[in-house]
Amino acid sequence: MEVKNSFAVVRIVDDDVGVRDSYKFLVESDGWFVRTYASAEDFLAHDDPSVPGCVVLDVRMPGLSGLELQAKLSGLVHKIPVIFISAHADIEMVVKAMQKGALDFLPKPIKDESLLSSIEKAVVIDRERRRRSTEKSEILGSWNALSPREQETAVLIAEGLLNKQIADKLNITERTVQVHRAHVFSKFGVRNAVQFAQKLMIMNSSENV
């Protein structure tokens, strides 16, 4: 329940106003904020992607279908998790949607447990992604603040080399290495080489959140 304390919005896209409202009422039961959209186009035009949360999509809609919307969403900076709902799902469609990163594919008639647990999972993932995305950009900022010599030294620190070994490699004095290490650790807010190595791993991760 911790996740709900921070702000998140569950987006529901369905062409039928009655169904849309009923989803809204159901999802609100667990205390979520809900926004409803009549179509994929409506969603693209009016949704604020900076707000964390998830999208609950009906696969079959007039105009842009749920799957087409998913394809468009995957091109965005913030990949918002998508939960599909369909009464007409076949295996091929499910596989395709999951390969493209759909979080879940729920059959109609919907079960409240599975929908709400999926939503909770999705919001957690979204928030984690957004958090990691923030952390990465912070690390990157710290990294860029280092001088080139400090960056060289930092790479070797992360590899677990001792000050003396680093000094030998870089043809600098051990004292200079000690100064760089202290500076880098303070910049990144870490106490040891292991914690620093973790930060660099996050920075170098290819994941584009």
Binding site: D16, G18, S22, F25, D30, A38, S39, D47, P62, P109
Partner: protein, 561 residues
């Protein structure tokens, strides 16, 4: 003086017609003449008249219609007695004969100087006997019967030849060898001059006869005075008495009639065509005589009947074929209609199944939410009341959809009520809103249009039109769907316009064909349902191209259809 008085009291004299057989009658000429003369004198009421008829004429049964009496030879009498109801009143009897049964016979004579030396009847074999053309037919019968009785029954024993009546011609025939003998009436023969008589020799003369004349054959009944069917019995008796009272003339007088059964026997036996020719023709004989005509008529009739039967058969067959073809076409049409109906109902069921899922999903969601909130303890009264009102609304929507389909499936006419079309359309339009709750379909028609019909049908029709329009504009940045309604006299016109893609003419034509949507996927049945509903209202669907782009679909509906 007496005369004038008698004239003054003269009664109307009616004719008394006596038919006389021409052939052979000269043998009793003087008797007939005398009888006629006496008859005119004695009967003041009747004017006697003699009419001579040839045997050939007498064969016509109508000839005697006007006659009262008939004087004829025995053979002719026999024939007429049998077939015309002639009845003998008196018969000629020569004074020398014992009765009228022996009043006639025939003499067969040859030339006395004949080179053929014929002395007996037997020697006449293969010879020709001449008979005068004005001789009574009795002569021939006498000759033939004599030959038969003498044992020469073959008809080819002698040849009979009809010769001219005059004596000179007779002689010529003899001379030229055309005939070898002649059969003559002995009465007439004896009247010939002695000199001529000597040139002839009588064959096998019967001289022992009490009949003094020389003759060859036996004696037969002679001439007869007979009554036709035109006279009464009393008159016949008076005539009989009158005739018998007359004195003989030239040795001939009237006596009681003879026995003519013998004549009938002889004539029947000889199978004489002349005898039978008096008979009224039977149907079979008529048919036989006119067999060619009968056959021709029968053939024509048969052809006609065959033609009639044939053409009747042909007509029957053609009619049957036509009927079967019609029946086949009718069945095919019926089949097509049932297919179409099934397909429409199926299509509707598809749409409705999809539409039915919406309220059902909503109902399910509200119920789940209530249960969830109940278990969490966060179900407040306001939320519950909201959820219940929605549950009622959605279940109503579901049952409306089901009822509508049932009506269609059963082919029942829907209940038509008077309702406000403007309100209905506006409410429908309000359902189509974007996330900002802003309407995306606008109703721009007249307000307060009332119409008599099924609101559900109108709603289905309108929703299908709107759905099509929304789909056509879904890729546009600023979609524009307008719904209008207007009253056209007694009819309702609903127009849904969009600013979607523009159709070319062939695509427009395709739209008019049901089930041919330009949409690649999707249900594509909207238009088909629109058309079906408009048909139920006796209306039609028009497609109009919008400027600069888009399409307007106009549906005309009659409330009294």
């Amino acid at each position: 003086m007496f005369g004038s008085v008698s004239l003054a009291y003269e009664t109307v004299r009616t004719p008394l017609i006596i038919a006389v057989q021409k052939e052979g009658s000269n043998s009793i000429h003087s008797l007939v003449a005398n009888t006629f003369q006496r008859l005119s004198i004695i009967n003041r009421n009747r004017i006697p008249e003699l009419r001579y008829f040839s045997v050939k004429e007498l064969q016509n049964p109508d000839v005697l219609n006007g006659a009262h009496y008939m004087i004829c030879s025995a053979t002719v009498y026999a024939a007429l007695e049998k077939y015309s109801g002639l009845k003998a009143v008196a018969a000629v009897k020569p004074s020398a004969a014992i009765s009228s049964d022996h009043a006639a016979s025939t003499a067969i004579v040859v030339k006395a100087d004949s080179v053929h030396k014929i002395n007996t009847l037997k020697e006449l074999e293969n010879k020709v006997i001449g008979i005068s053309e004005d001789a009574s037919p009795d002569i021939k019968i006498h000759v033939l019967n004599e030959l038969r009785m003498q044992g020469f029954p073959s008809k080819r024993f002698v040849k009979l030849k009809t010769i001219p009546a005059s004596y000179e011609d007779l002689l010529d025939e003899f001379h030229s060898g055309e005939i070898h003998a002649a059969a003559v009436d002995p009465i007439l023969f004896t009247r010939l001059p002695e000199k001529i008589k000597q040139e002839f020799k009588l064959l096998e003369p019967r001289i022992k006869d009490d009949y003094a004349l020389g003759h060859t054959t036996i004696t037969y009944p002679g001439w007869i005075f007979a009554a036709t069917l035109n006279t009464g019995r009393n008159e016949n008796e008076r005539i009989e008495a009158f005739l018998k009272s007359l004195p003989p003339v030239d040795g001939m007088g009237w006596a009681s009639e003879g026995d003519y059964r013998k004549m009938h026997q002889i004539l029947s036996f000889l199978d004489e065509p002349f005898y039978k020719s008096f008979r009224k023709k039977s149907f079979n004989e008529l048919v036989n005589e006119n067999i060619v005509w009968v056959a021709a008529i029968a053939a024509v009739l048969l052809c006609w009947i065959a033609l009639t039967i044939f053409s009747n058969l042909l007509i029957k067959r053609r009619t049957k074929e036509l009927f079967e073809a019609n029946e086949k076409r009718f069945r095919a049409e019926e089949h097509f209609h049932s297919l179409e109906k099934a397909s429409i109902v199926g299509q509707m069921s598809n749409i409705v199944a999809h539409e039915l899922r919406q309220p059902l999903a909503a109902i399910s969601n509200y119920s789940l939410a209530i249960r969830r909130r109940l278990s969490k303890g966060n179900l407040d009264e306001e939320a519950l009341s909201f959820a219940i009102s929605r549950l009622i609304k959605e279940s109503g929507r579901a049952s409306d959809i089901i009822e509508h389909v049932q009506r269609y499936a059963k082919g029942k006419p829907s209940d038509r009520i008077k309702f406000n079309v403007s309100d209905l359309l506006a409410a429908i339009c309000n359902d189509y809103v974007n996330s900002q709750r802003q309407p995306i379909v606008h109703y721009e028609g007249e307000a307060d249009i009332s119409f008599i019909g099924d609101p559900l049908e109108i709603e289905l029709l309108s929703r299908n039109l709107i759905k099509n329009a929304l789909e056509a504009t879904s890729t546009l940045h600023v979609p524009e769907v307008l719904v209008r309604a207007e009253k056209v006299s007694n009819a309702l016109k609903i127009i849904v316009s969009d600013n979607g893609p523009t159709f070319d003419d062939s695509e427009l034509e395709n739209l008019k064909e049901p089930l041919r949507s330009t949409k690649i996927s999707g249900l594509g049945l909207g238009l088909s349902i629109v058309k079906r509903i408009s048909e139920r209202y006796g209306g039609h669907v028009d497609f109009i191209k919008n400027k600069p782009s888009g399409l307007s679909v106009a549906v005309l509906l009659h409330s009294n259809a």
